[in-house]
């Protein structure tokens, strides 16, 4: 555990990191980035907390069981969205033209419309969920292992 200054700053900074990560995930279909990149940004915040507070403290709030459920859920949502198009073809973008993320973008340069992309933004969220849970579990397991703690089964 690091000094009180570091812990306080980390506590304030995690909010901004979370917001930036969510921004990258949500704008994945119109700007560079996406589910994986945004998820990795959020996990970098988790690593910051890990450094500031030590793995023992973080283990109390990030439970392996919860992370495992989150990871599977993310993957299953992704697969479910792919399966939902199987009436036409697997991965068919069935949301195009509907009110949810359904607008067709105007070709050419523009500010970008977030309400486009069909299932792609939803898939970005699913991937983001999976990456957050999976990478956090990996980082936490490595930290616990190197500090000699038992990783719960």
């Amino acid at each position: 555990m690091l000094s009180k200054i570091v812990r306080t700053v980390a506590n304030q900074l995690i909010l901004f990191i979370l917001i930036f990560g969510l921004y990258v995930i949500a704008h994945g279909h119109i700007t560079p980035g996406g589910g994986f990149q945004g998820g990795a940004i959020i996990v970098s915040g988790v690593i910051m907390l890990l450094v500031a507070f030590s793995s023992k403290e973080l283990k109390k709030s990030l439970r392996e069981r919860v992370l495992s459920i989150m990871e599977s859920t993310g993957a299953l949502i992704f697969a479910a969205l792919a399966f939902a198009g199987i009436g036409t073809v697997f991965f068919y973008n069935f949301l195009v033209g509907t009110p949810i993320f359904g607008r067709i973008p105007v070709p050419g340069p523009g500010p970008g419309d977030i309400w486009t992309g069909g299932v792609i933004p939803l898939m970005n969220f699913a991937v983001g969920l999976k990456v957050i849970a999976g990478l956090s579990a990996v980082v936490l397991a490595i930290a616990l292992f190197s500090s000699g703690e038992e990783v719960e089964e």
Binding site: L76, A79, A82, G85, T88, V89, F90, F91, Y92, E153
Partner: protein, 522 residues
């Protein structure tokens, strides 16, 4: 049913993937429900594979375009070349699919008892199903980049599964070697794909095959792809990691790893025959495969003769048997540019090589499973410490004998049918190939007899008084594979006519593969 078959190729890949992520959730509540889920999903996948095989036998190459408005719309309106992810299943792919579905089902059943004493079993089945996904993806994809992605999925989950039994020290070493080799191989594949994509602006195998020029970068790409896939398949100069990784994995996983080696071999054939095709005719590539195949046969078996570790001994035999397939298909590749020779013996050599893949995929996992059963009962892999186990393990003994006779090519069994097909066809190419093949076969029989004698024969040893036959699920898994062997033994002509020859023709007939992608009408 028609809808199911239309979508079957993607369902075969997607169902294991979805099941893999359901397992952690289901496994939290009940162990039995989890095992049932694994079996049901793999059995359903096997059913879909056989349904698809029947469809392909009747209607020809199966195409599936992901995300399009219709499954056979390969080229979107306004585009000149296919840009979407395309699955393309032809005779050769579906043969590999049939093998993979049977072996993965048997391996899952075998695992239920084999790893029953381990911790973290939910992760084991998640990884196992991810490996199944990766294998099917490699076999069914019509897109080079997807081949790379699925190769990665299969390799990473395979490496984790090799190192799964963390209580043994050598598993970590084996898993590490496997992941290093896989990483090098997949980076080489990625670099080769980059070379091709930079020149031709396409990733689809069929579309690339249509425009490929055989320029210098293409030759570099071919070399990289071949080195990567032969390294992953364990061809001889690059085989040193192979026994280390295969001997330490749980036996069910070793059985599956054999098939991932075959999948890499399939990818190498796909690159040689379909991507480069006629351009390699009468060229040096066929000879390279033949020479290194011969080396694999000979080095594999001579290294196996003096091994004491039962799994290591079988791993070296796997290298040796893979050599037969390289030689058979390599002869076909060497005469690909000469239609007369291809018709006389080239096609038979390819058929023989492919038939040997099918046979090897039945008896080698069976032998690995018996090796795993011995390890399960005695707690050692050292053949010198075993003895007299035939008194206690009657089923395992019988199944081991079936596997041994088959791998040594003893006449009525299936190993003989494919070996005789290879011997007779490659003899016309060069007699030395057949002579080496027969010598290797004799050495195989000799070493397997020796191993049989030291493990099963003799008087009962006092330290194995308490040994019992292995649990029922392990026997069922072995019996599934033995039933496959006996079926092929009884009806070799049926198998060759219905499965093997279409697969060989699919490799030779590059035009059909290209037409299926580029010529398809929406």
């Amino acid at each position: 049913m028609d809808t199911l078959i239309t979508h079957s190729s993607i369902l075969i890949i997607a169902i294991p993937l979805v099941t893999a992520f359901l397992i952690p959730l289901v496994g939290m509540t009940s162990k039995k429900a989890r095992n049932a889920l694994v079996i049901v999903s793999l059995a359903f996948v096997a059913f879909l594979v056989f349904a698809l095989a029947k469809d392909i036998a009747i209607n020809g190459i199966h195409i599936y375009t992901l995300g399009a408005t219709s499954p056979d719309l390969t080229t979107p309106t306004g585009f000149m070349a296919p840009v979407r992810i395309i699955l393309e299943v032809d005779g050769m792919s579906i043969l590999m699919g049939i093998i993979w579905s049977i072996v993965s089902l048997a391996a899952a059943i075998f695992s239920f008892s084999h790893i029953a004493s381990e911790t973290g079993q939910n992760r084991f089945y998640t990884l196992l199903l991810l490996m199944v996904t990766g294998g099917f993806g490699m076999m069914f994809t019509g897109d080079l980049f997807n081949l790379f992605v699925f190769l990665e999925i299969a390799s990473i989950s395979g490496a984790a599964l090799i190192a799964f039994r963390t209580k043994f020290a050598d598993t970590q070493e084996g898993g590490f070697k496997y992941i290093v080799v896989s990483a090098i191989a997949s980076l080489m594949v990625l670099f080769a794909i980059g070379l091709l994509y930079a020149q031709y602006n396409s990733l689809n195998i069929g579309a690339l095959a249509q425009v490929i020029q055989y320029t210098t970068p293409d030759k570099i790409a071919l070399a990289l792809l071949l080195i990567a896939f032969t390294m992953k398949a364990g061809m001889v100069p690059l085989h040193l990691w192979f026994p280390d990784a295969y001997s330490v994995a749980p036996a069910s996983i070793t059985g599956m790893l054999v098939i991932t080696s075959h999948a890499c071999m399939y990818a190498a054939f796909r690159v040689c025959f379909t991507l480069y095709g006629g351009m390699l005719g009468t060229s040096v590539v066929g000879w390279i495969l033949i020479i290194f195949g011969l080396l694999s046969m000979f080095v594999g078996v001579t290294m196996a003769v003096f091994q004491k570790d039962v799994m290591r001994f079988m791993s070296y035999h796997a290298i040796s048997q893979l050599g037969y397939m390289w030689v058979g298909v390599g002869v076909g590749l060497a005469v690909l540019g000469n239609p007369a020779l291809l018709a006389t013996y080239g096609r038979d050599a390819i058929s023989g090589g492919i038939f040997h893949i099918l046979n090897h995929a039945m008896y080698k996992p069976l032998l690995f499973f018996t090796g795993g059963a011995l390890f399960y009962c005695t707690g050692t892999r050292d053949l010198t410490k075993m003895g007299g186990l035939a008194h206690k393990m009657k089923w395992t003994t019988i199944l081991y004998i079936i596997g041994t006779l088959s791998i040594s090519g003893i006449p009525p069994l299936n190993g003989f049918s494919s070996k005789i097909l290879i011997y007779e066809s490659v003899y016309q190419f060069h007699p030395i190939l057949t002579i080496t093949g027969i010598i290797v076969s004799i050495l195989t029989l000799a070493s397997f007899t020796k191993a049989f004698h030291s493990a099963f024969m003799g008087a009962e040893l006092p330290e194995y008084k308490e040994v019992k036959e292995v649990p029922r699920s392990m026997i069922i898994a072995m019996v599934i594979l033995a039933a496959g062997i006996i079926f092929i033994t009884l009806f070799p002509a049926l198998i060759v006519n219905w499965i093997i020859n279409p697969a060989a023709d699919a490799l030779i007939n590059q035009g059909a593969y290209i037409n299926a992608v580029t010529g398809a009408t929406p």
